[in-house]
Amino acid sequence: MSREAVFNLVVLAGLVALPLYAHLSDAPFTITLATRAVILSLAAVGLNIALGIGGLVSLGHAVFFGVGGYAMGILAFHAQTYAPLMEWPFVVEGTKSMPVIWLVAVVFSALVALGIGLLSLRTSGVYFIMITLAFGQMFYYFAISWSAYGGEDGMSIYVRNGFPGLNTLVPVQFYGLCLVLLCAALAFNAVLLRSPFGLALNAARQVPDRVRAVGLDPFRLRLLAFVISGAITGLAGALFADLNRFVSPTMFSWQLSGEFIVFIIIGGTARLFGPVAGAVLFVALEHFLGGVSDYWHIWFGLLLLGVVLFGRGGLIGVIAGRGRGHD
């Protein structure tokens, strides 16, 4: 077994063992923190399909995160106020059921990704980075002025949504649910990497001319990758909204899109567990550094700079040795 595989197993074991530790040491907040890390990991795993395999540096992935969050917020808001979502041509009621919310979140973020992808994948390089950023800003300002759903204030959902057979209000149970989804996404990612689609997408990042020359269209490959990526990040958004029982336009902010990229880089680009390692590290740093100094962003910035300049390959690169780079 390679060192990377060992590392992945250790991370996974840690995530599974954590609730046990938290239970024994009576630290329920540790679970909340871990849930946050797991959900952000899921969002970054989504982005990594576009960025790590497809080479699409999207600085607007918070859009999908936000769409997923608002899907949850809007459905739950209508459920808690007993006002139907729409009455014509047929009545659509809100819901507090997580599976339904997840489905809606995934479908809508996939549709948004399809729309954004169709337009922005015509560009490449810096233009792609910038046009995704612009779409992010568009959604951000739209959410701020969408007063029906709280505008800048966002929306509070007073009780976490339910999942059949579980009590999601118990932190460990919600954590378990998120962890299962993260593992499912990682498994899907692993399968994808070995599939014909993974092969073709990977090649489309490295040698698009070759991919065309064998009769495949890189645009379509990238578009599909972008849609899948957006759907997974959207699912993470719905979970994040449920974790906080709150949605707001900050879920669309470009800084959040930047942070998703940060997770992937500090974890290790194009590593299966890179986004997970990065997000866990980020949440831990935010928690501990934030306690040490008011100016913790400086230290975090320096750390990030160090990783980019000297620690290529991220955390996993340092631990497991060099894999393939991302350039």
Partner: protein, 382 residues
């Protein structure tokens, strides 16, 4: 590992008698979530400093404060609230500056049986249908300044107002509040982009209008930008606003451009009520700057907390709630009591920006709305 500020000062001989009488009361743990980094940090720092000053002066050594920085991000605030409730097991929470953060945090912490004392934000939802027995607003309901300003402008003889606010819920509330108090004709109602820094276009519209009064609500950097640009534009419509845009923290950055502007607040540093002069003096001495309304709010919040913990044990929720509701403390704003929706009934004053030596600051003009109570209380069922 936690950023703990243990406000434990040695109890001094001259400490408040009430505090000594109940010295046996259990320790009270307070969680403060406020903005200490990023663009809006000035407000949070003032609230924190005012709060800690009052605590220190009370001489109470049984109140422990855990302070956390929300970075002005709602999701961070929610996470910190979870941490304070689940991990630190605090009894009382306070500190949030922004309405949207309050909306994200307050309903869930009060639902978990904790008390929340708001030192700044007062969104209408929490004053009306969303009110809660454990939620107390020590500052003001969001509409208060706006409505009082409208009433003052109308009483002052203004007939036609130009109103301006950012396009977000607090901005829309501000305009609604002003119009309710004003009752007169509105020349134009302009919504700007949140975070906008250039107001040339709006100022041109103002100059072209026939309004005889300009009311604007642009908190933070937006207000600084607007006022500097407005004063240089040659527009002559007199300005009135809420104190948020003319408070001590930002007047320094606006400078002379703000001179003469009228603004509403529930407190002013030259307000002649018992304890206020001492507060201003001790705050200035300790922190080397003049207190802002936020500092006064933080100070009052701590006074309320101290008075309630002296009268009742925090573990007895009903008694503690009653003690809070009684508001048995000398507020630096003068007369103060809670309405049934746990929001203040208080006088809103009109202030004017002046220069004292080199320092641009506010002076009291007079009451703008006496015994103001917000209109949302009727919707509050508790």
């Amino acid at each position: 590992m936690n950023f703990k500020t243990l406000a434990k000062t040695v109890a001094m001989g001259g400490a408040v008698c009430a505090a000594l009488a109940t010295a046996a009361a259990a320790e009270v743990k307070v969680g403060m979530i406020t903005t200490l980094s990023g663009g809006g940090a000035g407000l949070g720092i003032d609230v924190r400093d005012g709060f800690l000053l009052a605590l220190e002066q009370s001489g109470r050594d049984d109140i422990e404060v855990v302070i956390e920085d929300d970075q002005r991000k709602p999701d961070v605030a929610v996470q910190l609230a979870d941490k304070l409730v689940q991990s630190e097991k605090v009894d009382v929470l306070t500190g949030i500056i922004w309405s949207n953060l309050a909306m994200a945090v307050v309903p869930s912490v009060t639902a978990q049986g904790k008390f929340y004392l708001s030192p700044n934000a007062g969104p209408s939802q929490l004053a009306g249908r969303g009110c809660h027995p454990n939620y107390f607003n020590v500052a003001w309901q969001n509409d208060a300044y706006h409505e009082a300003a409208g009433a003052y402008a109308a009483a002052d003889g203004s007939k036609k107002a130009f109103v301006l606010a950012p396009n977000y819920p607090a901005g829309q509330d501000a305009i609604t509040g002003f119009k309710r108090g004003f009752g007169g004709e509105i020349a134009a109602e302009v919504y700007t982009k949140l975070g906008q820094t250039d107001y040339a276009a709006e100022i041109a519209q103002i100059r072209a209008s026939d309004a005889d009064i300009l009311y604007y609500f642009l908190p933070g950097g937006m207000g600084i930008s607007f006022m500097k640009q407005y004063s240089g534009s040659g527009a002559e419509v007199p300005v009135i606003g809420p104190a948020f845009s003319f408070d001590q923290g930002i007047l320094g950055a606006i400078g002379d451009a703000a001179l003469g502007v009228k603004n509403t607040a529930h407190w002013s540093k030259d307000l002649d009520v018992p304890g206020n002069a001492e507060f201003v003096a001790s705050f200035s001495e300790k922190y080397g700057r003049l207190p802002s309304i936020y500092a006064a709010q933080g100070f009052d919040t701590a006074l309320l907390l101290v008075s309630a913990t002296a009268a009742a044990d925090v573990t007895d929720a009903d008694a503690f709630r009653a003690a809070l509701k009684a508001a048995d403390f000398q507020s630096v704003r003068g007369a103060f009591k809670f309405a049934d929706n746990h929001h203040p009934i208080q006088t809103i004053y009109m202030r004017e920006v002046i220069k004292e030596g080199d320092v641009v600051t506010n002076r009291l003009v007079g009451p703008a709305a006496e015994d103001y109570a917000d209109p949302y209380g009727v919707d509050c069922k508790m």
